[in-house]
């Protein structure tokens, strides 16, 4: 009772990276609290799924396995998740801040009247004293997240309601195998006990999911473009530089919103967090929304027409000039010197 539960989502039948990252964080929190770490997997054809979860620290693995449960649909997954939470009363529940987690977690929090903090960048156990009532709370989950376009960092707590719920984006937490694997005990959830016909009224007519080809998280070099790159066409030159340097193209939120690049390449608080060896920021002004996702890069080069762009404060090298012209020269001189 009162353990930590991680909702583990599936991608092509295997557990998504973000869920394994949450298990790694959950294991750490469970060790601090002296409680168990539990995983919840809802889907179809799940035999054997528990192995990876145990290796990432899960002591108990709750499994709901039925053909109606894959692909993800909001209502049946909500019913099972709420049912389990009411039965087990976890103190903490973690979800990926993905299209699934951001659809499901608010629904669950609304049903259970428990607070939910979206897109946490850090989760820490700590105490709290309510200054008005004088009530002291121990071992609360500090849910730390950027707010207000990333210009402030807020620490959110849920003193009186359980579970304390949070979502975390992929790539924000580190994924590691547990020092000692979890017990990995499988507990099967009875589908018919939780799901009724009204949960199945939304039908999936068509579904097209591409394999993930883009791996900006693991790339040693990232050439990222901002709104200042100007067009989707101009992004092709960034892709050329990235290819020459053996890296990937990234983008700021402004560039993604403008349609210059895909969301899968977005770096920052509402995208992926990256830590490459070299980060080349092209036409990126450097709002905190973006820099929070890349400021741990080993080396940062900024290219901007504005010599006072905020990004230059983070940069090891700040190049003042036109992005297209500088990127072309980088391609040219890299090719010349690398032979």
């Amino acid at each position: 009772m009162n353990n930590i539960i991680v909702y583990c989502e599936l991608e092509n039948g295997i557990v998504a990276d973000v869920s394994l990252e949450l298990l790694t964080k959950g294991r750490e929190l469970a060790n601090t609290l002296g409680c168990k770490l539990e995983a919840l997997v809802i889907g179809s054809n799940l035999s054997g799924i528990e192995k990876d979860l145990a290796l990432h620290g899960a002591d108990t693995i709750w499994v709901a396995d039925n053909k109606e449960l894959a692909p993800f649909r909001t209502l049946p997954h909500t019913s099972i998740t709420c049912g389990l939470f009411e039965q087990e009363k976890p103190q903490i529940a973690l979800f990926g801040a993905t299209s699934i987690g951001r659809d499901l977690a608010p629904r669950v929090s609304s049903a259970l009247h428990s607070g939910l903090t979206a897109d946490c960048t850090s989760l820490v156990i700590g105490n709290h004293k309510d200054n008005k009532s004088g009530t002291e709370y121990t071992n609360l989950l500090y849910q730390i997240r950027p707010a207000f376009g990333g210009n402030i960092i807020a620490t959110i707590i849920n003193p009186d309601h359980r579970p304390q719920m949070a979502t975390v984006r992929e790539g924000v937490m580190k994924r590691e195998l547990a020092a000692t694997p979890g017990l990995g005990e499988v507990k099967v959830l009875d589908y018919s006990k939780f799901v009724n016909d009204t949960d199945l009224v939304v039908k999936i007519i068509e579904r097209q999911i591409e394999d993930r080809k883009i791996n900006i998280k693991g790339s040693p070099v990232i050439v990222a473009g901002g709104y200042g790159v100007g067009s989707k066409e101009n992004f092709k030159l960034l892709a050329e530089l990235a290819e020459v340097l053996g890296g990937e193209v990234g983008a700021s939120r402004a560039a993604v919103d403008a349609g210059f690049s895909d969301h899968a390449r977005q770096i920052g608080q509402t995208g992926t967090t990256v830590r490459p060896k070299l980060y080349i920021a092209c036409g990126i002004s450097g709002q905190i929304q973006h820099t929070a996702g890349m400021d741990e890069s080993s080396m940062i080069i900024s290219i901007n027409t504005d010599p006072d762009a905020p990004i230059n404060k983070l940069a090891d090298y700040a190049i003042t000039g036109d992005v297209m012209s500088v990127v072309s020269k980088m391609i040219k001189y890299y090719k010349q010197n690398s032979k």
């Binding site: 977690a105 629904r107 190049i319 690398s338």
Partner: protein
């Protein structure tokens, strides 16, 4: 064939424009000067309004009402909505709403929606001041109806169902849902149609009761007093029969423990020009330091 007309409600929010925190919006100590940020129509709520107007175009006789919760000045986005094609606006405003987190907000909105009883509720995926994307799904749960999140396009509409294309991280999904439902709309959906000059003329005198009170009585009788379509409704906690303990700070399970302003720490950066010599030297340096290659 669609023969039924739909009662459509758009949930919209007026937000500070956090996307353009420029140099003037930063104070000398590196923190945000909130007063310098303009209040705007939350961008994805405009995508939501467009989707609602498309639905109205598809189902003759449908009505689009925009509902916003906020301070009195939020009536601005209701007028903006009418200029773009919405039929009416409702401002949910009460001091008791202040300090509400997403859950308390969704409770308040769900009380107002229960009074309207719409077929379709359309909202932006998320608001840029918080980026939580929680209110849409939380409202759907409170009303005990299905939700379709990240909507991009209406594929089909019948008397009993709506088919919607939704954007996912690595692809898309087409789903069919019965009415009533909550739809949240993605930024990748079509942009909202512009304000229409004739509609601006027609609705520019649309006012809430509090706005009218602040004006002189001549204005009330001449400009907007006796025309129903110029009355923006204003609802309080009592009007939507909401329970005080579920609102505001008291009704919010999440509490803000601390707020920290993010301040840029300047690095010692080397300044380069875009000259051939500078870029060549940089690439040589990156290669010899094994940062590249």
């Amino acid at each position: 064939m669609m023969e039924k007309s739909l009662k459509i409600v758009v949930l919209a929010k007026q937000v500070p424009d956090t996307r353009n925190v420029g140099k003037d919006a930063m104070k000398a100590d590196g923190t945000v000067n909130r007063a310098a940020l303009p209040a705007i129509f939350n961008p994805e709520d405009l995508n939501a309004l467009e989707l609602a107007l498309v639905l109205k175009d598809m189902a003759a006789g449908s009505e689009v009402t925009v509902l916003t919760m906020g301070p009195p000045r939020a009536a601005d986005i209701l007028r903006d909505s009418m200029y773009r094609g919405a039929d009416s606006g409702i401002l949910l405003t009460d001091r008791k709403f202040a300090g509400s987190d997403t859950l308390a907000t969704s409770y308040a909105l769900s009380r107002a929606l229960a009074k309207i009883n719409p077929d379709v509720i359309v909202a932006g995926r998320q608001a840029i001041d918080g980026d939580t994307a929680q209110v849409g799904p939380q409202v759907a749960e409170k009303l005990n109806i299905p939700q379709v999140t990240y909507a991009e396009e209406i594929i089909n509409l019948t008397d009993s169902s709506i088919t919607i294309k939704r954007r996912l991280e690595h692809g898309f999904e087409v789903v069919e849902s019965p009415f009533p439902l909550v739809v949240t709309v993605n930024a990748s959906a079509p942009n909202c149609r512009s304000q229409h000059a004739k509609r601006v003329m027609k609705y520019k005198h649309a006012k809430t009761p509090s706005e009218l009170q602040a004006l002189n009585s001549d204005y009330i009788t001449t400009a907007s007093g006796n025309k129903d379509y110029l009355k923006i409704q204003e609802w309080s906690v009592a009007d939507v029969d909401a329970n005080d303990v579920e609102l505001g700070l008291v009704g919010s399970p999440t509490k803000v423990k601390t707020i920290e302003n993010v301040v840029f720490q300047a690095k010692d950066s080397k300044k380069l020009s875009s000259s051939d010599a500078d870029i060549n030297e940089l690439m040589v340096e990156l290669i010899s330091s094994h940062t590249l290659g």
